[in-house]
Point group: C2
Chain length 257, copies 2
C-alpha cells in the first residue's frame, strides 16, 4: 500500500495497539480527537469526525482507512453515539468515497451483539467446553445504545460497499487489554484480544482481498463464543495469543508483547 493509511481515534487503546505493532509497516496519517501528549512520529491532525471539514482534511491523500474514532463508552448516551459514532461514520464513508479510498476498516464492537449473552446462556457460554458460537452472519443484538451505533456503522459500510465499491471490513473488537487478559472475569477472557493480535488483525484487514466482511477480533482463546474462522479464512488472521495461557504465576510473569 503506497498511499498513507488514515487512522482515526489514534489516541485510544486500539489505536495504541495498532501503532505499537505496525509502526513501520505503513505510512500513517493519524487523527486525534485531543492533542496528543507527545509529538507523534507520523503526519497527524487533531479534529472531530462530526466535522465535515476535519474529516475532509483527514481523508486528503490517503488510500485506506482504519476508522476507530467515536465515543468508546458502552454506557455512552444516545446523543453522543448519534453524533460521534453514527453521523461521524457516515461522514467518514462519504469522504472516503470522494477520495477514492479502496479499503475501509471499521472498528465495530462486541457490544453490537451483547444481548446474545442471555441469562440462559451465561456463564456457560464463556467456558472452554461450551460450543455456542456467533460467526458474524447473525443479525445484531446490541446490549446498549453504543452497540446500536456500532451495528449502524456496519450497515453504513454495507451500503457504501454495495453502492460505491470500496472494500469494507468490520472488526467486532473484543476485550483489548495490554499484557494479559482480564483477571477473574470469564467473559473478558472469552473475548480477550491481545495487543499483538489486535495489530495483526488490522494488518490482515489492510492486506487481504475481500468485498464486505464482518469478523470477530479476539485472540485464539480456549474460552470463546465468537468464531474466528471467518477472520482466518478471508483475512489470513493467525492469532498468537490465548487467554488460557495466562494463569496464576505465568500470567504475572508474561512479558508485555
Amino acid at each position: 500500500m503506497d498511499d498513507p493509511v488514515l487512522l482515526t481515534g489514534a489516541g485510544g487503546a486500539v489505536g495504541a495497539a495498532i501503532l505499537e505493532g505496525l509502526e513501520d509497516a505503513y505510512e500513517w496519517k493519524l487523527m486525534f480527537h485531543s492533542p496528543p501528549a507527545e509529538e507523534p512520529d507520523h503526519e497527524y491532525l487533531v479534529g472531530d469526525v462530526s466535522s465535515e471539514g476535519d474529516v475532509a482534511a483527514a481523508m486528503d491523500g490517503v488510500g485506506a482507512v482504519i476508522h476507530l474514532a467515536g465515543d468508546p463508552r458502552p454506557e455512552a448516551p444516545w446523543d453522543s453515539v448519534l453524533e460521534n459514532n453514527i453521523d461521524g461514520t457516515q461522514k467518514m464513508y462519504e469522504a472516503a468515497v470522494d477520495e477514492g479510498v479502496e479499503k475501509f476498516v471499521f472498528a465495530s464492537s462486541n457490544h453490537a451483539v451483547g444481548s446474545f449473552e442471555t441469562d440462559e446462556r451465561t456463564p456457560e457460554m464463556y467456558r472452554p467446553d461450551d460450543q455456542y458460537r456467533l460467526d458474524g452472519t447473525e443479525l445484531p443484538r446490541p446490549g446498549n445504545l453504543y452497540g446500536v451505533s456500532k451495528a449502524t456503522g456496519e450497515v453504513l459500510g454495507r451500503y457504501y460497499h454495495d453502492e460505491h465499491g470500496l472494500s469494507v471490513c468490520n472488526i467486532r473488537i473484543g476485550n483489548l487489554t495490554r499484557g494479559h487478559p482480564p483477571i477473574d472475569y470469564e467473559r473478558g477472557q472469552a473475548m480477550w484480544l491481545s495487543y499483538r493480535d489486535c495489530a495483526h488483525i488490522h494488518d490482515c484487514a489492510l492486506q487481504a482481498d475481500y468485498e464486505y466482511e464482518i469478523v470477530y477480533g479476539i485472540s485464539d482463546n480456549d474460552r470463546k463464543y465468537y468464531s474466528i474462522e471467518r477472520a482466518k479464512d478471508v483475512l489470513g488472521y493467525d492469532p498468537q495469543d490465548n487467554s488460557a495461557h495466562f494463569d496464576g504465576e505465568e500470567r504475572v510473569a508474561e512479558p508485555e508483547p
Copy 2:
C-alpha cells in the same frame, strides 16, 4: 386492546391504508406532521418525532404504537433521515418504554434490503417462476441512506425489545398502491402491497403474540422475492390480493378495495 393505539405518520399513504381498513377496530390517537386537511374523527395531534416534547405528548396514555413517521423519500439526504428516521425512532422507543407500551410496530422498508437486487439477479428475481427469496433473517443491504435509516430502526427495536421487553414487529413494507398494482413495472408488482392487505398486516401485528419480528409486508403476489411465510406463521397474516390478478381489462375494471 383497550388503550388507544398511537399512529404516527397518520397523514401518509400507509397511514391512510391502515385507517381506511381499521377505522373502527381500534381507538386511535393520530400524530400528523402537518395539520390534516380535514378534521379527523379521532383524537390527534400535530408534531414532530424529532421533538421530545411532541413525542411525549403523543405517547401519553397509549397502549401500542404503529410508528410510520419519518422522511419517506428513498432519495432523502442523510441529514434528514438521521434526524427524522433514526433519532426520531429512538425518541419514540424511549417514550414508549417510559409509557409502558407493550407493542411497537415499526414501518421498515424494502429499501433496507434494496441492494440484494443485483444486476446478476434482476430482472429474473421479479418473475413468478423465480425461487429467490429474502425471509428477514438476512443481514440488511440497504440500497440508499433511507434504507440505512430503516435498518437502523430495526436494530433500535432489537435493543429496546431485549433491554425493555416490549414486543417489536418490523414490517418491511413493499410497494403500496391504491386499487391496483403498478403498471408495466415488474419490480413493483413483485413487492406490491394492496391497501386492504396493508391494513390487515398491521391489524395482525397489533393482535398477535411475539417477541421481536422482521416480516415482509407484501400481498400474496405470484411474482415475489420476499417470503411472507414468517408473517403468516407468526402474525396470522392472510393476504387477499395478488398483483397477478390485475391484468389488462381486469386491472382497470377492479373496484377499489
